[in-house]
Symmetry: none
Subunit: 223 residues, 2 copies
DNA sequence: TGAAAACTGTCATGCACCTGTCAGATTGGC
DNA sequence: GCCAATCTGACAGGTGCATGACAGTTTTCA
């Protein structure tokens, strides 16, 4: 999943980014309101974590402008203030959830998961396709009940496929989902990881099909 | 376990902190109501030991505000007064237990243990995984019935793992559980202690697995 | 009280695995 | 058959983890 973190305090920002990247997400980090808006215009995100107190432009204003311009990405507001009207106005402006600072990282993770899940459509944190199960919480994969050792990137790629079975992903699309701005990679990397996934999942009742010239697609395989 | 002690009398505060640290807990100590509230907002605790008489803000008020903002951490109230209505109001405000000063430290320890145990979900004070047994009261560990010499920190870490077998703990998460504010350590410390635990428990039917990039996990080992 | 022993956490080193690029092999379409 | 797209093995660099040595601190014990 691709996430934008907007937070001006370096310490906090770095901590959040590290935490979310560790979960296998592609995370971009902006420190001001205008920079955040620029990033949102350029890139589609699955989630935006937005601090309220920002230099340049208030987080709430950024949120309002986003919604006004039709951006429907889920937004998690971070607010240092805990007054009721703040929470209410956050939700009124179109936020999907809020968290008052300072917060526990485990709670942040839980809310992030909840929002990503909600937008992903499914309500469980276990994805399933054929006999392959991906647990989004423990970031583990099993085939026919047996645990399957995958690396972080492999899991991230598999997650993209499993969130939308049948959907055909182009390579640029997959690159967007897997890499953040600074860590850009060639399209070859995708081919490589598809290959690795295929090898590790060769016994599964699921396969990643190549649609020449179009991209890749995950489908359930008949027994 | 991570504990916050709120007590303005230096002698008493130091004594409580020393006593609880000796049991292997990570203890933070605040001396005023506002400071305590700030700490609670920043950090998640497994238990709060709260004096009623405090400069700045009354302990009971701190407790009430905590509960109002959804903090569910168990709270043990220390009160110098022993009048019935005080006890009653403490429980009404959402305290889980109280102790009238002056008190015997052994009783404090017992009540702390009870509260921690209750929040941990288990009603027994003996944790078990594979052939490893951890006695939370005597803070001792044995493997297949044989006592095993572990240091405080080693036991504290093992306790975290054994309270939630299978769960994958990230290193920041483990640091949160093991270290207080002032005694912050690098993630290296976790790796180090995992290594030490592994060496001392190598013969046990339990192991701490490394999930590269994710964290550590305690599992029962097959014979 | 003072010295020895044990405990803690940092540093630095080394190793293993993960990552992404390259280049050559293979496949599919025309 | 030819070209482009894809696959795959090899490889270099990086990252994360394991581990030994060490210094500061605490605890123990005489």
């Amino acid at each position: 999943m691709r996430i934008l973190v907007v937070e001006d305090t370096v310490d906090v920002g770095e901590a959040i980014v590290a935490r979310l990247e560790r979960l296998g997400h592609a995370v971009d980090w902006q420190q001001t309101g205008p920079d955040a808006e620029a990033a949102i215009k350029v890139q589609r995100y699955d989630l935006i974590v937005l601090d309220v107190m920002l230099p340049g432009k208030d987080g709430m204003a950024v949120l309002a402008d986003c919604r006004a311009t039709g951006v429907k990405t889920p937004v998690l507001i971070l607010t240092a203030r805990s007054r009721i009207d703040d929470r209410v106005s956050a939700l009124d402006y179109g936020a999907d959830d809020y968290l008052t600072k300072p917060f526990d990282f485990r709670e942040l993770e839980a809310r992030v998961r909840a929002l990503l899940r909600r937008s992903g459509g499914s309500s469980v944190s276990q994805l399933q396709l054929g006999d392959v199960t991906l647990d989004q919480v423990s970031r583990s994969v099993s085939v026919a009940g047996r645990p399957c050792e995958l690396t972080r990137r492999e899991i991230a790629l598999l997650e993209v496929f499993m969130l939308r079975p049948q959907k055909v992903f182009t390579k640029p699309e997959l690159l967007d989902q897997l890499f953040s701005f600074d860590k850009d990679a060639g399209e070859n990397a995708i081919e490589l990881y598809v290959g690795r996934l295929r090898r590790k999942l060769h016994a599964a009742r699921m396969e990643i099909r190549t649609l020449r010239g179009l991209g890749y697609q995950a489908v359930e395989r008949e027994a």
